[in-house]
């Protein structure tokens, strides 16, 4: 091998792009050629120096923000009317409180407060990058992910065949406690299934409420409380809950 050939091929040697036969040829040339050997040493030294010192540039934060702002926001188009309904309800509650009917309101307060926290958690999850902590369509990946993060193990059930795609899991906070959220998708609609422990093992049949335009299907079974929240229509959310419950029963 001549120096001219070696001068080009020794780069492929440095970069690990040379097959064994050619690598051997280049190496034997270098063994007998101090000039090429020196070049090889220097090139390796330069590569190492660049890797160690770093020669990249960090993108300015403003650039990142401009790109973020130019992309569509990854959330359901927030239903403006739904948000307004939420405000309307809030003021209705204040109006009740103001007229001295606080006691009546308070009786439902706990349930309502938790339901509205569930909706808030659902809304938060739709903000950029908050939907899932673990992204997987595989229930055997999502379920173990919750281990050690919660005092309960939320059942993770694959309902893809039923038209509800599992997309991942997330840790959330409801009522100041960590709670598991299993995330499903139906078409463009996200369903958050919040699961927490309850002291009662009694089965409580499902009830669907609407808060701020979101439907919530709440039920309890085998010591777990479930809230499925989505902007899906009531009948579709009911379908989701029923399929989930029957899948749980099928697992024994």
């Amino acid at each position: 091998m001549t120096c001219d050939e070696a001068e080009v091929l020794l780069h492929a040697l440095i970069d690990g792009e040379l097959d064994a036969g050619h690598a051997h040829e280049v190496e034997s040339h270098i063994a007998g050629c101090p000039r090429c050997a020196a070049a090889l040493r220097d090139y390796r030294e330069i590569s190492k120096a660049i890797a160690e010192a770093g020669a990249g540039y960090a993108a300015p934060a403003a650039l990142r923000q401009r790109i973020e702002a130019a992309l569509p926001q990854p959330r359901q188009a927030p239903n403006r009317r739904a948000v307004l309904r939420g405000f309307a309800m809030g003021s209705a509650v204040s109006a009740l409180a103001a007229t001295g009917l606080v006691a009546i309101v308070l009786r439902h307060d706990d349930v309502e407060r938790i339901q509205s926290e569930v909706v808030s958690a659902h809304l938060r999850s739709l903000q950029a990058g908050h939907l899932t902590d673990v992204v997987s369509t595989d229930q055997h990946t999502v379920k173990p992910w919750f281990n050690g993060k919660l005092d309960v193990s939320p059942p993770v059930i694959d309902l893809t065949a039923q038209g509800f795609t599992l997309i991942g899991g997330r840790l959330d906070y409801i009522d100041a406690r960590a709670i598991g959220a299993v995330v499903y998708r139906r078409r463009q609609h996200v369903i958050n299934l919040f699961v927490s422990q309850t002291s009662s093992t009694e089965r409580r049949p499902a009830k669907i409420d609407t808060i701020q335009g979101f439907n919530i299907r709440h039920w309890s079974d085998r010591g777990l409380n479930y809230w499925a929240v989505s902007d899906l229509a009531k009948d579709e959310l009911a379908d989701f809950g029923e399929r989930f419950e029957s899948a749980i029963r099928a697992t024994g």
Binding site: D15, A38, D42, I46, A70, L71
Partner: protein, 186 residues
């Protein structure tokens, strides 16, 4: 005026963010070296991401990084073309003359002349930035971005053989510059 991506599918936007935004620093680095100007690099990277988002629906590979780089390179080439026709500013004059006048002489290196010292990242950046096109591009894609020869060939739209000869030339030039720098600081 803010430029908006036209497609409003939030799921597509989410997938695009996850796939492409991790390479923002890499893309900005490449643009800085190609355009040798921070402001132009920012504009080019922004344009690159918006174009990439528009074409993301038909993206089937290769790896995300070379795919983004190929788009970025086209954006940068359009910028070269604009510079070529635009009335030259003072900054561009400096860049042009830097390209025409080599900062060092390509000497026949001897075994005795070997690299003695390591440089800080600012010096390395300066030496790499001073390399002439297209050697600078090939060198940056290989040494800073860690692309394979095949990926570089795809990004730069040249055969692998050309990548190899450009890289050989780029490294030889950088080595001479490196030695010249050592000589100067003695």
């Amino acid at each position: 005026m803010p430029i908006k991506a036209t497609d409003d599918d939030p799921e597509k936007a989410r997938r695009f963010r996850e796939a492409a935004l991790p390479y923002l620093d890499d893309a900005y680095t490449l643009a800085r070296y190609l355009l040798r100007n921070a402001d132009d690099a920012e504009d080019a990277v922004q344009e690159c991401y918006l174009r990439a988002y528009r074409h993301f629906g038909s993206y089937r590979g290769p790896a995300m990084k070379p795919w983004l780089f190929a788009i970025l390179r086209n954006v940068c080439r359009a910028e070269y073309a604009r510079r070529a026709t635009a009335p030259t500013s003072a900054i561009e004059d400096v860049a042009e003359s830097a390209e025409q006048t080599p900062l060092w002489h390509e000497t026949q290196e001897t075994p005795e002349a070997q690299l003695q010292r390591r440089w800080d990242s600012d010096t390395i950046r300066r030496l790499v930035t001073a390399l002439a096109e297209p050697f600078r591009e090939t060198f940056v894609l290989r040494e800073i971005q860690n692309l394979s020869y095949r990926e570089i060939a795809e990004v730069a739209e040249v055969p692998v053989g050309t990548v190899m000869s450009r890289l050989a030339r780029a490294r030889a030039m950088l080595r001479s510059a490196w030695l010249a720098e050592e000589e100067q600081r003695k």
